[in-house]
């Protein structure tokens, strides 16, 4: 198949991911945009590797690394989002950084 097709696919997905990060109100949805961008990079890498028939299979190995790192990153990122939720009571990116709300912890709720 023409090399250009997967490349264009990756460009499109990347742009869609950029839009998602910049325009979504919920922090978790912004992270989904980041995932789309990472996937776009993956498609790009795999396409070039298959086209090039690299001996070291560089592109696909990098893709596997990216997948692993994306998993690590989403884990940490969502932990941070959780922390934000506990401090502010919401994860609205427009309001984050303003007044911290008082979200009762489980002990206080049970008291």
């Amino acid at each position: 198949m023409p090399l250009v097709w997967p490349l264009l696919l990756s460009a499109a997905l990347f742009g869609i991911g950029v839009y998602g990060v910049l325009a979504r109100r919920n922090a978790v949805l912004a992270l989904m945009g980041v995932e789309l961008m990472l996937n776009a990079a993956n498609v790009n890498l795999v396409a070039f590797d298959v086209w090039f028939r690299d001996v070291l299979v560089t592109g696909q190995v990098f893709t596997l690394f990216i997948i692993a790192l994306a998993a690590a990153e989403i884990g940490l990122g969502l932990a941070i989002v959780l922390r934000l939720f506990r401090t502010y009571g919401h994860v609205d990116v427009d309001r984050l950084g303003g007044e911290p709300a008082s979200v009762p912890s489980r002990e206080e709720a049970e008291r």
Binding site: V21, L22, A30, V93, L96, G97, G98
Partner: protein
């Protein structure tokens, strides 16, 4: 010469010293400086002036010779005193001293007394400068300084809006008229190549000036004199200057400043003698003014306004005498009027001090509680009406006599019809004067006590100046009949028919007014004419529409253009600064999405630029 400098300089020093008491408020010291300065000035003035009375030679001198160049003659500080200056100096210094003494008591509770006293001293210096000036610019400086002092003093009670308005009106009207004086000085300076009054008069006598120059200059000087002395059409400021303290009205608006206009025309009389046109204008203005001012005085409700219109009318008498060509008659009436009108204003001040206002509605029946005021004011009103043998009679008789002579073509440049006109107008005005004087006398001193304030006699310091002024009120007539009291005066014969006619008119009018006064205010008999007279023929309203409102509209345009055009730049600068800051604030709005947006867009733009520039 030294004496002349002292006469001008001593009150000036007193004024400057008085300024010190603005910083360190000390009433007693300020009063001492003011009254002491006036007293010392009076002594010096007597020493300087008395030798100059009569036919004595004038003395003078000059300092400095500055700022002359090829196109303009030089200025110099030149002073000169002849007999006319001498009598005026005596009048001014005496009235100033009496007013300073009177003011100590009149303004006893006024916290602004120190500044008032200093400005009165400054005014005395300016009047002296005008009277002894030999250089036209020295005269102009004194003239303008008098205007400034008048403004400051009329506005002494600046909390009152009528005082503020009256001060501004006086200043603006006289300043507008003073343009005439300035232009006349420049024209004369160019024509004679000197600014010295003595040089100018010599040039006129030698016939060196063209008749056009003489006429134009005379008319311009007349303009300034008309403004300063409140004649038609500049007559409306004097009654509105009455919100000032009564001693100021006595000093400035009866005896000295308004008389400066008469002095100016008298000093420049040779110019008028050569110009029939200027003399006719002068005469007509005088005739109109004396009649309408006396009529206005009849309809007023306020004692000081009656006296103000009376002043305007009597000044017109002096101008009429000048139009008829007789400086002696004019200066004589100026002296007598200075004495009795100052006395009347001081009496009005005493009444105001006693009952708390100057409206007739608050007065009445003050004969018993205020005997001294009553007797001195009666003498003053009688002199005003021209009762034999008080001073007013003799001087008014001199004016009529001069007009009669002019009517027979015997003297001066006035055409005979003007002379007859002045004679008739003088008699009519005398009748009106007697009427309003009687009305005022009756409303203030006779009848029932109206108003609620407790009436008391004036304190000593106010009483003695009034008594002192009563003396010349009575005796001045004898002095001015004496031949040779002024340079160039012959024995003025007292025309018998004038005596008879004026006494008859006086008796008739006084009796009529008294009888009418038995049934209330005589002015009500004027009927529908009264409101028109009380509003002074609505002339002021006309001035308001012609001059004042367009000025305010122009002011509005200027203000609006300053606000909308000039200030728009200022506001625009602040607006753009705030907008820029609002945009820059985004860099720190703690919104992660904003930061990421900026980063991404920046990278994208950089990539595009890199691609475009490389490709």
């Amino acid at each position: 010469m030294i004496g002349l400098v002292l006469v001008v300089g001593l009150p000036l020093l007193a004024a400057l010293a008085g300024l010190a008491f603005l910083v360190v408020p000390d009433r007693v010291r300020a009063a001492q400086v003011a009254v002491g300065g006036a007293a010392v000035t009076w002594v010096v003035t007597v020493n300087v002036a008395v030798p100059r009375l009569g036919d004595a030679d004038p003395v003078g001198g000059s300092w400095g010779h500055a700022w002359g160049n090829l196109t303009a003659p030089a200025l110099s500080f030149a002073l000169r005193a002849d007999s006319m200056s001498a009598v005026l100096l005596l009048l001014a210094a005496t009235v100033a001293l009496l007013v300073q003494i009177y003011s100590v008591a009149y303004l006893a509770e006024d916290p602004r007394y120190p500044s008032y006293a200093a400005i009165v001293s400054l005014f005395s210096a300016s009047m002296a400068a005008v009277v002894v000036a030999d250089d036209l610019f020295v005269l102009l400086i004194g003239w303008e300084m008098m205007g400034v002092c008048s403004y400051l003093l009329i506005g002494h009670y600046w909390e009152r809006s009528d005082a503020r308005d009256g001060a501004a009106k006086a200043f603006l009207m006289t300043r507008t008229a003073d343009i005439g004086l300035l232009i006349a000085i420049i024209v004369l300076g160019q024509a004679v190549d000197s600014y010295r009054i003595s040089d100018v008069l010599d040039a006129v006598a030698a016939g060196e000036l063209s008749s056009a120059t003489i006429t134009v200059t005379a008319l311009l000087i007349l303009l300034a004199a008309v403004g300063k002395s409140a004649q038609v059409p500049f007559h409306t400021w004097l009654p509105d200057a009455m919100p000032g303290p009564a001693p100021i009205s006595a000093l400035i608006h009866s005896a000295t400043m308004v008389a400066a206009g008469v002095y100016l025309v008298a000093r420049m009389q040779p110019l008028f003698a050569e110009s029939e046109a200027a003399t006719i204008v002068l005469g007509l203005i005088a005739v109109v003014t004396m009649l309408i001012a006396a009529a206005f005085a009849l309809a007023q409700d306020d004692l000081k306004r009656v006296l103000a219109w009376s002043t305007v009318s009597q000044l017109a008498y002096m101008f009429a005498a000048l139009a008829a060509g007789s400086v002696v008659a004019a200066i004589g009436h100026l002296l007598a009027h200075g004495a009795f009108k100052a006395l009347l204003f001081l009496a009005a001040g005493a009444v105001a001090h006693s009952v708390g206002s100057t409206a007739f509605a608050d007065m009445g029946g003050l004969r018993r509680p205020m005997p001294w005021t009553f007797w001195t004011a009666t003498l003053g009103l009688a002199a005003l009406s021209g009762l034999v043998p008080l001073s007013g009679f003799f001087t008014k008789d001199a004016v009529v006599g001069a007009a009669y002579d002019a009517a027979h073509g015997e003297a001066g440049p006035a055409p005979s019809w003007l002379g007859w006109l002045i004679v008739v107008a003088a008699f009519v005005t005398a009748a009106l004067t007697a009427a309003y004087a009687t009305r005022a006398w009756r409303l203030v001193f006779a009848g029932e006590r109206r108003g609620t304030a407790e009436a008391h006699e004036a304190p000593d310091l106010m009483r003695w100046p009034m008594v002192a002024l009563a003396v010349p009120t009575v005796l001045m007539g004898v002095a001015v009949v004496e031949p040779g009291w002024l340079a160039g005066s012959e024995a003025e014969p007292v025309h018998a028919w004038v005596v008879v006619l004026s006494t008859v008119i006086l008796a008739v009018v006084v009796g009529l007014t008294w009888v009418l006064g038995n049934t209330g205010d005589p002015a009500t008999r004027l009927g529908p004419l009264r409101p028109v007279l009380a509003r002074e023929f609505y002339i002021d309203d006309a001035y308001d529409r012609i001059a004042v409102r367009p000025t305010f509209r122009a002011v509005g345009v200027v203000l609006r253009s300053d606000r909308d055009v000039v200030d728009a730049y200022v506001r625009g600068a602040s607006y753009s600064a705030m907008t820029a800051s609002r945009l820059l604030r985004w860099a720190q709005n703690h919104n992660v999405q904003t930061y990421v947006t900026v980063a991404v867009v920046g990278v994208v733009v950089a990539a595009v630029l890199a691609g475009v520039s490389a490709g």
